[in-house]
């Protein structure tokens, strides 16, 4: 089938379904009509889409952790703990990496080893191996909406299972769950896979079931400039809307400069809504998710608390609808449930303290918003151009040509030419543009911002900046050295 940004016909969809459901044994347990009845009975407060919609009038950010272990009962215990002690507003199920690669046999070994050793040997919950009934048991054991979070290029079966199980949100997208999560999978394939996932949501929507979809905003989590992550989020939003998705949460990963972060979240929401309208999708509800810093974390747990809380402050000031929290174990390994709850608690404290507060929209914020929007427009225009008007085709071509380019991505279908670094006040700017189609004016803006930092630190604008900045949040040795030099310098 040819790639096109066009709603999959019901006939075609049902044909594909058969194949999908037979790709692993648990697929056969799904009865979509029964699932619809099941989902209809879910109370509003357990429906992700509805809770997000209602949250627009709440004066604080909602919070959600990442969490998943190999076995059902342990996973339930974990989620209940995060609900009760962490006071999470939404709960996740993070899926293990074998399942993400559709390596269900290996996941099976992981399950067996976890039973044998008495500890989770998988880095997440193997949704597909566990199947619909076990997944329902998970959702039924908690009182807040549940979402699957993964990173799966082909999540079609996974998506079938989680929605039938009453999990009312699914994270992912054809770009965001490919380029940062795969090496050899063509974009055509993943866009099609995710059109399927979105089409399934549309199918439910047509039958009166609201479900939420969330493109994965932070991508590689490492110095991704807002123009790139926002562009990807908007493309995935439009592709999803075409398949009938009505409730979308666009995401963004904290970079560290509060003005840039606030502006990015606001630009993202505004531009997603703008493009949805421009493309004629007028009944899609857009919310936002702010991810606490997604790159390398400080090892020291107290420093991690500082970073987590500072991220929560930014999310609140940005006015994001929800926030994904990190933990003080981040740099080491999957957190214990206690550490996980602590990340939630510190974050919740901050958003409770900041109820009703947002960053005032002055000239600085507005300028940064305009900057991001201009950049996104320039990229999106080109995407459509190379796609001859088709967004799906344009996306594939754009990646091929490096028009969209994601720093540090593992995929061979990503150009990998772009380089980024922080400016004097920590905002992420681009120093090597590859083929990103910016006007000279935009390029000059980035260069000048980086130049100012280079002057201050008496160095060149080059790849060494990028390297330093990969570590600048997780390890402040360099920065502390610079500062010590500064104190010693008699001339200032």
């Amino acid at each position: 089938m040819e790639l096109k940004n066009k709603r999959i016909s019901e006939e075609e969809f049902l044909k594909m379904r058969e194949e999908v459901l037979s790709s692993w044994t648990t697929g056969k347990d799904i009865d979509i009509d029964e699932a619809i009845e099941y989902l209809k009975k879910l109370p509003d407060h357990k429906n992700f889409a509805k809770k997000l919609y209602k949250a627009k009038d709440l004066d604080r950010v909602l919070i959600q952790p990442r969490a998943g272990v190999a076995l059902v009962d342990q996973h339930i215990k974990l989620l209940k703990y995060l609900e009760k002690i962490g006071r999470a507003d939404f709960l996740p199920t993070t899926v293990d990496s074998y399942t993400r690669q559709n390596r269900y046999e290996e996941a099976e070994i992981g399950i067996r080893e976890s039973i044998r050793t008495g500890k989770s040997m998988l880095n997440g919950f193997p949704v597909v191996n566990h199947g619909v009934n076990s997944c329902r048991r998970v959702a039924e054991s908690i009182n807040v909406p549940l979402q699957a979070r993964h990173g799966t290029p082909d999540a079609r079966l996974l998506t079938e299972i989680i929605h039938a199980a009453g999990w009312t949100s699914n994270e992912g997208g054809g770009i965001s769950y490919n380029i940062p999560y795969a090496k050899n999978v063509p974009l055509e394939t993943t866009i099609k896979n995710w059109q399927y996932c979105d089409r399934l949501v549309g199918y439910y929507e047509e039958r009166g079931i609201s479900l939420n979809r969330e493109p994965f905003g932070p991508l590689t989590g490492t110095l991704v400039p807002p123009c790139i992550s926002n562009t990807v989020a908007i493309i995935e939003t439009l592709l999803a809307a075409e398949q009938g998705v009505k409730n979308i949460t666009v995401g963004y990963g904290q970079l560290g400069n509060i003005v840039q972060d606030v502006a990015a979240i606001r630009a993202l929401r505004e531009q997603a809504e703008y493009y949805l309208n421009a493309y004629g999708y007028e009944d899609v509800y857009v919310s936002t998710v702010f991810h606490q810093w997604m790159g390398g974390f400080p090892k020291d747990e107290t420093e991690a608390f500082g970073l987590i809380s500072m991220g929560a402050t930014t999310a609140a000031l940005a006015g994001a609808t929800k926030m994904i929290t990190k933990t003080t174990h981040e740099s080491i390994g999957i957190p214990t449930m206690q550490a996980n709850a602590k990340g939630l608690k510190a974050s919740k404290e901050v958003v409770m303290l900041l109820r009703g507060q947002k960053y005032a929209t002055g000239i600085k914020i507005r300028k940064e918003i305009e900057q991001i929007k201009t950049e996104v427009d320039q990229i999106l225009d080109k995407v459509l151009e190379v796609g001859h008007g088709d967004l799906a085709v344009g996306t594939v071509e754009a990646f091929k040509a490096g028009i969209i380019d994601i720093p540090f991505a593992p995929s061979q279908f990503n150009a990998g030419k772009i380089l980024t670094a922080r400016d004097k006040s920590g905002a992420v700017r681009i120093l090597e543009f590859g083929n990103i189609p910016f006007t000279q004016e935009v390029k000059d803006f980035h260069y000048n911002m980086l130049k100012k930092r280079a002057e201050k630190e008496n160095r060149e604008v080059d790849f060494n900046m990028t390297i330093d900045d990969v570590y600048s949040i997780s390890d402040k040795k360099n920065i502390i050295d610079l500062e010590n030099e500064w104190w010693k310098n008699e001339n200032n």
């Binding site: 293990d96 990496s97 074998y98 993400r100 690669q101 390596r103 290996e106 070994i109 992981g110 080893e113 500890k119 989770s120 040997m121 998988l122 880095n123 990173g151 940062p180 999560y181 795969a182 090496k183 050899n184 590689t220 490492t222 790159g295 390398g296 090892k299 174990h329 740099s331 080491i332 390994g333 999957i334 957190p335 214990t336 550490a339 540090f408 991505a409 593992p410 790849f463 390297i467 990969v470 997780s474 390890d475």
Partner: protein, 133 residues
């Protein structure tokens, strides 16, 4: 010039550290063969045979390191690579565990050196320089 294979094992896609290691090892004067993320034991072994490598640096970040590394040393020995240095590093187990015990487990699996989370590339470089003298 010594040849080292680097890559990220299993279903692991963490690419950042891998790219940084590539850059730093190359800068330090090694010939780096980077097989990238999502690499299987066989991929490491084939690359080592093809390039007559002196060392294999396995990265595992995502937590399945223990499952993914099982039997790797045996396969190396079978392939005639018994003398090739074998390092592993990253976030090689699930969660925060006692490092002494983790290290022991991996040493017993046949790795020559085992590195904890957040190891600096400099540490890898100085160890390689020492071990490959």
């Amino acid at each position: 010039m010594k040849t080292v294979i680097i890559g990220v094992i299993g279903a692991d896609v963490h690419a950042v550290g891998n790219k940084i290691l590539d850059y730093c090892l190359t800068n330090a004067g090694f010939k780096v063969i980077n097989i990238g993320v999502l690499s299987q034991q066989e991929d490491f072994i084939n690359a080592a045979i093809e390039t007559n490598a002196d060392a294999i640096l396995v990265s595992s970040l995502y937590g399945h390191g223990e499952l993914d590394c099982r039997g790797f040393k045996d396969k190396c020995v079978e392939a005639g690579l018994g003398d090739v240095l074998l390092y592993v590093g990253g976030n090689i187990v699930i969660g925060k565990q006692k490092w002494k015990e983790v290290k022991k487990r991996f040493l017993e699996m046949g790795f020559d050196r085992v590195y904890p989370p957040g190891t600096s590339p400099d540490d890898a470089i100085s160890a390689l320089k020492k071990d490959l003298k």
